[in-house]
């Protein structure tokens, strides 16, 4: 690991100044579970590590049944699923927060970090997409907001410009008769990178017989986590049935454009996309009915 300096700004403004001064030669530390390993393995190099955990906004965690959920970018997973009210309102998000690394990783790793790491297989990103998450970014030109589905641009790359960093994530309050679900496929039962991950959120009609709307996102099958708009739209207005769900699963599979690597062949990943999408939509429907 090459040497670097370390700073702990206590305000968003101070952090922006530090990051702007160093440009590409600075990086942001929240939980560090990706960053520290990447620096150690020389997959990244930096002159300055800016630890943002002393900034109040980055540690905020609040939920309001009317306005929704705000998660500071450095809030570790355990705090999110440890909040009973939040866990009950966003079970689809909890599915992912509970399987990022082992328990020790979840003591540090944040959803914000998972998003900024921009791995195609980042587990929390598909559920954040299907829950219509929005990222608040601070930078030299003030703050701006970007939909989570537009945040990642390539493996390890995001919309963040030099001097910018992620402050928080916001999710609208869950609607009535809605449910969300995330599952990934891995060869082991824990401690693995998704071969494929699928998130789905659905809103059902009052009698729960048909879909009002749905959003589906897939991980590890494209250079970035993939929002498959057409798969969700195919469900909207349709009856809740095996047939309609299979159609959505086919659309998700068709949208997937995976590579073959040591975690699975492209063919296997496409197959799994279909299987998991079906199971995940079924899981989301089940939750919407509960």
């Amino acid at each position: 690991m090459h040497a670097f300096d370390y700073a702990t700004p206590e305000s968003v403004a101070d952090a922006v100044v530090m990051l702007s001064d160093h440009g590409k030669n600075a990086c942001v530390l929240a939980g560090g579970t990706d960053l520290i390993v990447q620096l150690r393995e020389n997959r990244r190099r930096t002159d300055l590590v800016v630890d943002v955990k002393k900034i109040a906004e980055l540690n905020a965690l609040s939920y309001d049944a009317a306005t929704g959920l705000t998660i500071g970018a450095a809030v570790p997973c355990y705090r999110i699923y440890g909040d009973a009210e939040i866990a009950a309102a966003y079970p689809g998000l909890m599915d992912a927060a509970r399987l990022v690394g082992g328990t020790g990783i979840q003591g540090r790793a944040s959803l914000g970090g998972n998003l900024c790491n921009a791995s195609p297989a980042g587990d929390t990103i598909p559920p954040m997409i299907v829950l219509s998450g929005e990222a608040e970014i601070a930078g030299p030109n003030g703050t701006r907001k970007v939909a989570v589905e537009d945040f990642c641009t390539a493996p390890g790359r995001t919309v963040l410009e030099d001097g910018e960093f992620l402050v928080s994530l916001h999710f609208p309050a869950p609607l009535a008769n809605s449910g969300a679900f995330y599952r990934r496929f891995i060869p082991r039962n824990e401690m693995d990178i998704a071969v494929v991950g699928v998130g789905a959120s659905v809103v059902l009609s009052g009698d729960r017989s048909s879909f009002v709307s749905a959003r589906i996102a897939v991980g590890a099958v494209a250079p970035t986590p993939l929002f498959v708009r057409e798969a969700g739209e195919a469900l909207a207005g349709q009856p809740v049935s095996d047939e309609t769900i299979r159609r959505a699963a086919d659309l998700a599979r068709d949208a997937a454009r995976p590579i073959s690597d040591m975690r699975g062949t492209a063919e296997y990943r496409k197959h799994l996309t279909s299987v998991l999408t079906r199971r995940v939509v079924e899981g989301a429907v089940q939750r919407a009915k509960e």
């Binding site: 690991m1 090459h2 040497a3 496929f185 060869p187 082991r188 039962n189 824990e190 401690m191 693995d192 990178i193 071969v195 690597d261 040591m262 975690r263 699975g264 062949t265 296997y268 197959h271 799994l272 299987v275």
Partner: protein
């Protein structure tokens, strides 16, 4: 009192080194701190096969904080020489070249230089400043490809040895051997059912959690001391003496606690490099590997190709078997194909057998021992073919194994005749187990379920040199020094055998694993030999102590020594009931009659005791859509001879099973076209976690080993042998599809099911 009239053997005392280990105080190899310590690391090859044109260390040497750089040119040049390192015969020239590459690099991760610096980070920076000029050569990583004419050749001077004679042919095949017994053609002609199948297995790693380490101090007098975690301190001493061409008297190895080995911590990797760096700097130098270095730079166990053919009559008698076994040796000759050949059909009594083994060099790390080396690959083939034959004959697969089971007098294809063994007893215990008798629903949760069984054999090294040195304290407790590394509780199992012999409690013995200057030569903790071999020495030590104590009692009581009996822990004079005393009582006085009581014993038993057999039963659930296999229930049955400390016998069985499960389902070295391992991390190598397993049930069978005073059989290795085959048979039972390639990972299973409509 435990069974068989034993007081200590068969009980479950808390291990002597336990408190230190649960409180974090035990000192493992990497935990040592020394004054003036420097930190070292290794520069490794990025290519799987290349000629080293030049190594320029000048930029590294100029880097602030760097104290020394070494390359193969700092090592003495060694001629071809074979040496026995405890679990394998090794060519010392190859061993030297594996430590620091000379002339060529033969695998990605091959060490080319070492650096010592004021801290590890500086050493790592310096590694990037070593400039190595390579001429990249074509590489080959698969065993069958490496055997083809025209394959890239690793060793231009290596001629194939065939059936014991060197040929003129230069190839990657280091050795071809054959074992033959009876006439297989005639045997197959008698058979009503003949099955022939091909199998492949991939390279897998032992996966010990502690990475390799070595700390060396080469002092001003030329005395070299190495602190390290090793399975055999004396083996390290001998390797150091040979590789560095120095007298063994100049080398002392201090074994610190070891964090797992499984066969992989016998060969030296860092130790000679640390020694050279210490010699150059005059400081102690500590080197530890990173996890990716362990995967890419140490010895895993080989990938292999096997073709097995077996025949049986319609009344269920095996008549003939043949095997073609090609194992990857890695960069230098010496795969465990020979051991695999000795195990492949050994659970069975088969009159006609032919086994052809091939040891093949490929551009991968030099393979090393891994728990029953060679046997798991072999059993994967045999045990699935046996399952298929049983099915064809319509007989229960365990009853088939009982009917054809090896027993006392059965001859192994590689020569030896079995003494009293527990093969059939073990299979019968599995057959009668509650698990095997229970019913299994064929489907649940939208998934299919199945049950599989498999057996396995491992020789056990029923011999080897062990030394024990004891001194009796005035309170009757005993300090026991031994040379056997304790990897999994052997301090306890050895101390218990001494305690049993002299009528003390296990806690009265204080066992210490000591350095090579402080105890007689002791072979490696490997080959499942330690509780057998060093326990054998402990028993002999106990006998020596009893003799000595009789002498002391004779002086104290003024009676003839040969009139003193020792029974149930009490010395007594035959002719006077007043003259009696327990071992402890006598120990408190013994010092007055001739000074402190001490004893030193070394042993090297003949090794005829017979090996260990195991039979396993597993229930699995298969997700047809994803190909994922989950384990619902697992029972391991094994002949332990006599279980000294049953908890640690169970632990060996459970640990071996889970390594076998990992090998069967997910573990493998995945190579890309560039000859690089792509999954050299615990994240992607996928060893089983807590969440991948149920409890592992154990049934210990005890058919005593006739060549050990307490009947001990080694237990450590055989439990890894059956799992992959048992899993394959269970997957077949669940899905109707047979898998013949390891690992049976989700993509492979899903593909096989899709292709076979299973």
């Amino acid at each position: 009192m435990s069974q068989n009239g034993h007081k200590v053997i068969g009980t479950r005392p808390i291990r002597h080194d336990g408190v230190d280990k649960v409180t974090g105080r035990a000192i493992y190899g990497a935990d040592i701190q020394l004054t003036g310590l420097l930190h070292g690391t290794v520069k490794r090859s990025p290519h799987p096969h290349a000629r080293i044109k030049n190594i320029d260390t000048s930029r590294a040497e100029a880097h602030p904080g760097v104290r020394a750089v070494v390359t193969a040119h700092d090592l003495p040049q060694i001629a071809d020489k074979l040496a026995d390192l405890g679990e394998a015969i090794v060519n010392l020239r190859d061993a030297s070249n594996n430590v620091l590459a000379y002339g060529k690099v033969l695998y990605k991760g091959h060490a080319v230089a070492g650096v010592a610096a004021i801290n590890l980070h500086v050493a790592q920076e310096a590694v990037e400043l070593i400039d190595v000029e390579y001429e990249v050569l074509p590489h080959v990583t698969g065993v069958l490809e490496a055997m083809e004419d025209g394959a890239p050749i690793l060793h231009e001077d290596m001629k194939t040895t065939s059936m014991g004679e060197e040929t003129d042919k230069v190839s990657n095949i280091a050795n071809h051997f054959q074992h033959k017994m009876g006439e297989p053609d005639d045997g197959f002609a008698e058979a009503d059912v003949v099955i022939e199948r091909e199998f492949t297995t991939q390279t897998v790693h032992q996966g010990y959690i502690e990475t390799h380490n070595a700390t060396a101090l080469w002092n001003e007098e030329g005395q070299l001391t190495i602190w390290t975690s090793t399975q055999g301190a004396f083996s390290v001493r001998d390797q150091m003496a040979e590789i560095l061409q120095m007298p063994v008297s100049k080398v002392k190895i201090v074994p610190l606690e070891i964090g797992g080995g499984f066969g992989g911590k016998i060969s030296v990797y860092l130790d000679p490099v640390a020694a050279l760096l210490s010699k150059k700097t005059g400081h102690p130098v500590k080197m530890t590997m990173t996890r990716d270095e362990v995967f890419e730079g140490t010895g895993p166990t080989p990938g292999s190709y096997l073709k097995v053919k077996m025949g049986a009559t319609s009344d269920g008698r095996l008549t003939a078997a043949t095997a073609y076994m090609a194992y990857e040796a890695g960069a230098y000759p010496g795969s465990p194909v020979g051991a695999g050949a000795g195990c492949i059909f050994t659970p069975y009594d088969i009159p006609n057998v032919q086994i052809d083994g091939y040891d093949v060099c490929v551009n991968k790390p030099k393979t090393n021992a891994y728990r029953a080396p060679g046997a798991t690959n072999a059993a994967y083939a045999t045990e699935t073919v046996v399952d298929e034959i049983s099915e064809k004959l319509g007989v229960d697969p365990l009853e088939f194994r009982v009917k054809n089971g090896a027993k006392e007098g059965t001859r192994r294809a590689d020569g030896p005749v079995h003494p009293r063994i527990g093969c059939i007893e073990t299979t019968e215990a599995a057959l009668n187990s509650e698990h095997y008798r229970s019913s299994l629903a064929k489907s649940a949760n939208g998934k299919v379920r199945g049950r599989g069984v498999a057996s396995g054999y491992w020789f056990n090294f029923n011999g080897g040199r062990s030394a024990i040195s004891v001194s009796i304290n005035p309170d009757g407790t005993i300090n026991m020094l031994e040379g056997s590394t304790d990897i999994g509780g052997s301090r306890a199992s050895i101390a218990m055998q001494l305690a049993e012999t002299i009528g003390l409690e296990a806690t009265d013995i204080k066992p210490y694993v000591v350095d090579t200057d402080s105890i007689g030569y002791t072979d490696v903790t490997g080959g499942s030999r330690t509780t057998f071999g060093t326990g054998y020495a402990a028993h002999a030590t106990g006998q020596a102590l009893i003799r000595e104590m009789k002498e002391r009692a004779s002086k104290l009581w003024d009676v003839p020594a040969d009139a003193i009996d020792f029974e149930d822990g009490v010395f007594s004079y035959r002719d006077d009931a007043e003259k009696r005393g327990s071992f402890k009582e006598m120990a408190s006085q013994a010092g007055d009659a001739g000074g402190p009581v001490v004893a030193q014993v070394s042993t090297n038993p003949d090794g005829s005791g017979g090996g260990a057999f195991a039979t396993h039963v597993v229930d699995v659930e298969v997700d047809r859509e994803t190909g994922k296999v989950d384990i619902l229930r697992y029972t391991a049955v094994q002949d332990a001879g006599t279980a000294i400390h049953p908890s640690y016998v169970e632990g060996q069985m459970q640990g071996g099973v889970v390594q076998g499960i990992g090998w069967g389902l997910n573990e493998e070295y995945i190579y890309n076209d560039d000859g690089s391992m792509t999954n050299a991390s615990f994240l992607d190598y996928r060893m089983p976690t807590t969440l991948d397993l149920p409890m592992i049930e154990t049934i210990i069978v005890e058919v005593p080993n006739e060549s050990h005073p307490y009947g001990v059989r080694g237990v450590g290795e055989v439990p890894i042998v059956p799992p992959p085959a048992a899993l394959a048979n269970a997957i077949y039972d669940a899905t109707g599809v047979r898998l013949r390639d390891l690992p049976m990972s989700p993509p492979r299973v899903q593909k096989a099911l899709a292709e076979n409509g299973g």
